[in-house]
């Protein structure tokens, strides 16, 4: 999959180093593989011009790369949230059939999500409305020092306790 992304139009130059910018070069580097189909997205720059691209640099040979190129992507709040949603969906998809979720916490995608801090916590709160609540309950307990669901006796009860916690923290509307 090749993509062109007018990086300066998306992010400006703030926080973008030349080395990181290389990740966005077209055509796609040969070793970058996208294991899941990513939607093409339109970016509109300050000049009003639009460019089409895909978010490429997060996954290499089926794994999230360890050099944290997301540090560059995070220069754009909107792009950061967009990528977080993609990562969350990929992570859910990979673990849909799992009954033991410990290994999922060591998945590079999970580690990348944890680097997002409160943005990922807010995302986890929203995902507690979905059909992968055990995964996100384990994520929340792993990623925070909080235990708002202590004493809960079901997935539903724990999800409710975490959502209440998220509202109190301003993470969930």
């Amino acid at each position: 999959m090749a993509g062109t992304l007018a990086l300066e139009e998306v992010l400006g130059t703030s926080g973008v180093t030349p080395a990181r910018r290389d990740w966005f070069a077209a055509p796609t580097p040969a070793d970058v593989m996208i294991p899941y189909e990513l939607p093409r997205v339109m970016f509109r720059g300050s000049s009003g011009a639009s460019s089409e691209g895909v978010v490429l640099p997060l996954v290499s040979q089926g794994r999230v790369v360890s050099q944290a190129p997301e540090a560059t992507l995070w220069a754009s709040g909107q792009l950061r949230l967009y990528v977080a949603e993609i990562l969350a969906s990929q992570w859910e998809d990979k673990n849909r059939g799992r009954s033991s979720l410990g290994p999922a916490m060591r998945d590079p995608i999970c580690i990348a999500l944890r680097r997002l801090g409160d943005d990922a916590l807010a995302l986890a709160m929203r995902r507690l409305e979905g059909s992968h609540r055990p995964l996100w309950l384990r994520y929340l307990q792993t990623a925070t020092d909080e235990r708002p669901a202590t004493g809960a006796t079901s997935v539903e009860g724990a999800a409710r306790a975490w959502r209440d916690w998220g509202r109190r923290r301003g993470l969930l509307g």
Binding site: K94, G97, S131, L135, L137, A149, T153, S154, A158
Partner: protein, 160 residues
């Protein structure tokens, strides 16, 4: 995406062998709970809101799950052949990790709750195992105990 397609994508060998979906998709319980006849809890250690029997510790490796099943009166046995008077389980993993457990019905077929997906009835164990990212670990440990009723697994009362 349909439940069957989601299952076929994860377990492609199972797709060719045939299986029957026997429950709606739900994240309220998992395969371990299914063996314990509990469709209201997710059995896994160390997470608030999940269930794990007291006294078993917080470890979540294959050996920890074997200890759990021993606490439910299962003991190791040689294979998954149907034996009169016994119910058997097949525990999948790639040591030290636990992946899945399937329950043997009285007719010799198997019943599995697939994570947050559905319960299924399947004839064979092997099609669920493999080295694919989404398949269950290839090592299978068999355990058995005296047969006791599991009406949901036997009758398929939970229907999609």
């Amino acid at each position: 995406m349909s439940a069957r397609r989601l299952i076929d994508e994860r377990l492609p060998k199972l797709s060719g062998r045939g299986y029957e979906i026997t429950s709606p998709r739900t994240d309220a319980y998992n395969c371990v709970a299914w063996v314990a006849r509990d469709v209201h809890s997710w059995w896994e250690p160390g997470v608030d809101g999940f269930y794990w029997p007291p006294g078993l510790g917080d470890g979540d490796g294959l050996d920890d799950y074997i200890r759990l099943f021993e606490s439910l009166e299962f003991e190791r046995c040689a294979d998954g052949q149907l034996e009169a008077g016994f119910e058997k389980i097949a525990i999948y993993g790639e040591p030290p990790e636990f992946d899945h457990v399937a329950f043997q019905r009285t007719d010799g077929t198997w019943s599995s709750k697939l994570g947050t997906l559905n319960d299924i009835k399947h004839d064979q164990l092997e099609p669920l195992a493999g080295t694919g990212v989404l398949e269950y670990g290839p090592s299978i440990v068999y355990m058995r105990r005296s047969r006791r009723p599991h009406p949901l697994a036997e009758t398929g009362l939970i229907r999609p």
